[in-house]
């Protein structure tokens, strides 16, 4: 991969990149964004950088107009107009103001869009060329995208941390905090509404988009997040007796949201209702987006997260469950874990017994994200350093495995392996139990769709070797990214999607793992670091 070295303010970043994206887009994926005001169309002239070394494409006409030949001669360019192919060294002249929001890339979902071609809704509106916004309200992350309603094209996307994290990283703690005090509940509610507004504002200012023409917004989320957003029935989820029943959590004050976001005042704001218990509309959106229920063939959708949601389609019934494995795959809960962001080891490979690894964005190692953890564990087992029960072999001296040592350290401790095993076992047990309920084996699976935590980095073969995914041909396994957001976009754009949601709710059977008598045995078997049993 070619390497981009970017000087920004006082620091220097090393960013490996795949050619095919503009310099602005490459920088956007890191914390070192360049200022921007026109979605990279070359119209605003904000995104100025100086090329210090390396060859790039000739300046575009827009650059001649906005920069003039004197600047161009000094190597000053517009980052959105530069398409680097090779190693490059630049100075970011106009860094973007710090923001809590990062860009989502358009390409990722474009791929999905082509595969699923639903008919778009007819939009009647007083506004010409109206825009819509789709929101996936996650426990850890809020992601949203802005689309042109007439074409369905995604114009911009953002993701950032859910500010409720301050009240606790898991849903239980937040539900308790809300039940304890009305003020806390109100604060959490407000925080999310404000965060969504902030993300939209980031899009508006950076991409030069007028929010007044956002006439529609759709939102999906897990049930807990939706109860906190609407301020209704959050106490219900704390009682096991209500886990199988519908939880009414649709908000009743959406007009005031439109005002606070400064979008079209009569915008239609639609929160998609959850199914029941903990099974939220995020999972339903994922099912619609991936179309796992489209034909007779058996298919499995796993949305990885702190609470991984699993849906199994047997041709007639959609079996769903939620497995609380903890946040290990999101890069938290282990001593070495960090989310998939710059500095995270995201891939580990084994060559001639030696381990090699790759780091996101700049070269400095800060920790390891979920996909890196899976690769590392799989390769430690393969190279005889880790036993399948989770014990280091005599090939690993000391108490832990040292992947990086020196200026920066990256260690995998025995405790980390334990946390990993539990997370994997909870999900593995969930999959096994659903397959059993549906009377299926992995041989009946013709497709596995993976959404959530891993993004595009998951090495499917390694995930199978350690028993996180059923053993089927790897080309039947698709990495789908944020399926909840993709599905939410479809609810926004197409009435067919809304209809398929109605059909879906008739086909679903919820399985509560806590009520499965043999859970402990199945969980126990899945603690082993080995391929999943059963065929």
């Amino acid at each position: 991969m070619p390497l981009l070295i970017a000087k920004i303010e006082k620091s220097e970043r090393r960013i490996p990149f795949t050619p095919g994206r503009s310099l602005r887009d490459i920088l956007d994926a890191t914390e070192s964004r360049v200022r921007s005001g026109c979605r990279g169309s070359g119209a605003c002239g904000f995104c100025r950088v100086q090329i210090e070394a390396g060859k790039v494409n000739e300046p575009t006409p827009n650059e001649y107009t906005l920069l003039g030949s004197a600047r161009l001669e000094k190597g000053i360019r517009l980052a959105c107009q530069v398409m680097p192919e090779d190693d490059l060294r630049i100075v970011v002249l106009e860094p973007a103001p710090k923001s809590n929001w990062r860009s989502l890339f358009a390409e990722e979902d474009e791929v999905r869009r082509i595969k699923t071609s639903l008919t778009l809704r007819e939009f009647q509106s007083e506004v010409e060329h109206p825009y819509g916004v789709a929101v996936d309200l996650g426990t850890t992350r809020i992601s949203l995208s802005l689309l042109e309603l007439s074409s369905g094209k995604r114009l911009a996307g953002r993701y950032g941390l859910n500010p409720q994290m301050r009240f606790g990283s898991d849903i239980m703690t937040r539900l308790v905090a809300a039940s304890e005090s009305q003020i806390q509940a109100q604060t959490m509610r407000q925080q999310v509404i404000e965060a969504i507004g902030e993300a939209m504002l980031d899009i508006a200012t950076r991409e030069g988009i007028n929010l007044k023409i956002v006439t529609r917004l759709a939102l999906v989320g897990n049930t807990a997040m939706l109860t906190l957003l609407s301020g209704r029935n959050y106490g219900m989820l704390l009682q096991p007796s209500s886990w199988m029943s519908y939880v009414d959590c649709l908000p009743q004050d959406t007009e005031s949201w439109a005002v606070s976001w400064d979008i079209y005042p009569r915008a239609r704001i639609e929160v998609i209702a959850p199914l029941a218990g903990f099974v939220g509309s995020d999972l339903l959106a994922g099912v619609v987006a991936t179309r796992v229920t489209e034909n007779e063939a058996g298919a499995l959708l796993i949305d990885f997260g702190t609470n991984s949601e699993i849906a199994l389609w047997d041709g007639q019934t959609l079996w769903v469950t939620s497995a609380a494995g903890g946040p290990a795959f999101e890069g938290s809960g282990t001593s070495c874990g960090i989310p998939a962001e710059p500095g995270a080891v995201y891939r580990v490979s084994l060559e001639n017994g030696e381990l090699d690894f790759a780091v996101i964005a700049d070269g400095k190692v800060r920790g390891m994200c979920g996909s890196g953890l899976i690769d590392l564990i799989a390769n430690l087992v393969k190279s005889g350093r880790l036993g399948k029960t989770g014990r280091f072999t005599s090939n690993v001296p000391g108490e832990c495995f040292k992947l990086v040592e020196g200026e920066q350290n990256l260690y995998l401790t025995k405790g980390d392996v334990d946390v990993f095993q539990r997370a994997k076992a909870a999900i593995g047990a969930g999959i096994n139990i659903l397959l059993e309920k549906a009377g299926m084996g992995s041989r009946n699976l013709h497709r596995i769709c993976i959404g959530g935590a891993f993004g595009q980095f998951l090495n499917v073969g390694n995930a199978q070797d350690i028993g996180l995914l059923p053993n089927i041909q790897t080309d039947l396994i698709e990495l789908c990214g944020n399926t909840a957001l993709a599905g939410c976009e479809w609810f926004l754009l197409s009435s067919e999607a809304t209809k398929s949601l109605e059909i879906l709710t008739e086909q679903v059977k919820i399985i509560n793992l806590a009520q499965c008598d043999d859970f402990e045995d199945i969980f126990f078997k899945n603690l082993y670091i080995e391929p999943m049993a059963g065929s």
């Binding site: 606790g168 239980m172 703690t173 539900l175 308790v176 704390l238 009682q239 096991p240 029960t389 989770g390 014990r391 108490e399 401790t413 025995k414 405790g415 392996v417 334990d418 095993q421 539990r422 806590a514 402990e520 969980f523 126990f524 603690l527 082993y528």
Partner: protein, 212 residues
């Protein structure tokens, strides 16, 4: 002879090799080794060694479950009627409180306690505080062991001691454990002891007995 095979049993247990452990314990019984001796020299010493390995950093759930399962199978061989010795050091009532359905940790506690000669009466999961206390009263329990894996149960944990003393059962000690409780102090949970691991809990009960 029996010395040697008790060692073999010990090794099989520590490896978590269930079938070998069962074979070895059958051999011991056939050689007229008393179940009590197999418990003290085999099972209890396996537990002591496991205990030493189970510091918070060294903990591995699968390893413990493997040993635990092997121990329970051997107990069934030794005491075919109900899997625990006829006379016990005391009774411990365990449970997970309302809203909490996790029971893996509690099951490990039961195994460790059984292996160490206590009798465990388990109230299961999602159990109201009152039911836990009624059971402790009926069984004349030495201690109540509350297991909590989700933070929501903390307010209920805080009530246990108060209700016990209201009902004149103040002599029953209360200990708490599990991922959601072990970070807390005994004062803040209003209990007598907070255990980091199941072994920690056993040490605490052993100590109560010594004082008595």
């Amino acid at each position: 002879m029996s010395e040697l095979t008790i060692n073999r049993l010990l090794e099989a247990l520590l490896e978590g090799n269930q079938s070998l452990a069962v074979v070895e314990s059958r051999k011991l019984l056939e050689n007229d080794v008393k179940p009590e001796r197999i418990v003290t020299e085999g099972i209890e010493s396996a537990m002591t060694q496991l205990d030493a390995k189970c510091t918070v950093e060294q903990f591995n759930l699968l390893e413990i479950m493997l040993v635990g399962r092997a121990v329970m199978e051997v107990m069934k061989v030794l005491y075919p009627t109900d899997g625990s010795p006829p006379d016990t050091k005391g009774i411990v009532v365990t449970g997970a409180l309302e809203g909490d359905v996790h029971d893996l940790g509690k099951n490990i506690l039961r195994i460790v306690l059984t292996a160490k000669g206590y009798r465990v009466v388990d109230c299961g999961t999602d159990c109201p505080v009152e039911k836990l206390i009624d059971t402790a009263a009926q069984e004349a329990a030495l201690t109540i062991g509350v297991s909590g894996l989700i933070t929501t149960v903390i307010p209920q944990v805080r009530q246990v001691t108060a209700i016990l003393s209201e009902r004149g059962l103040g002599h029953i000690k209360v200990m708490a454990g599990g991922a959601a409780l072990k970070q807390a102090t005994a004062e803040s949970l209003n209990v007598d002891f907070v255990a980091q691991t199941a072994f920690d809990g056993v040490h605490y009960i052993d100590q109560i007995l010594e004082v008595k």
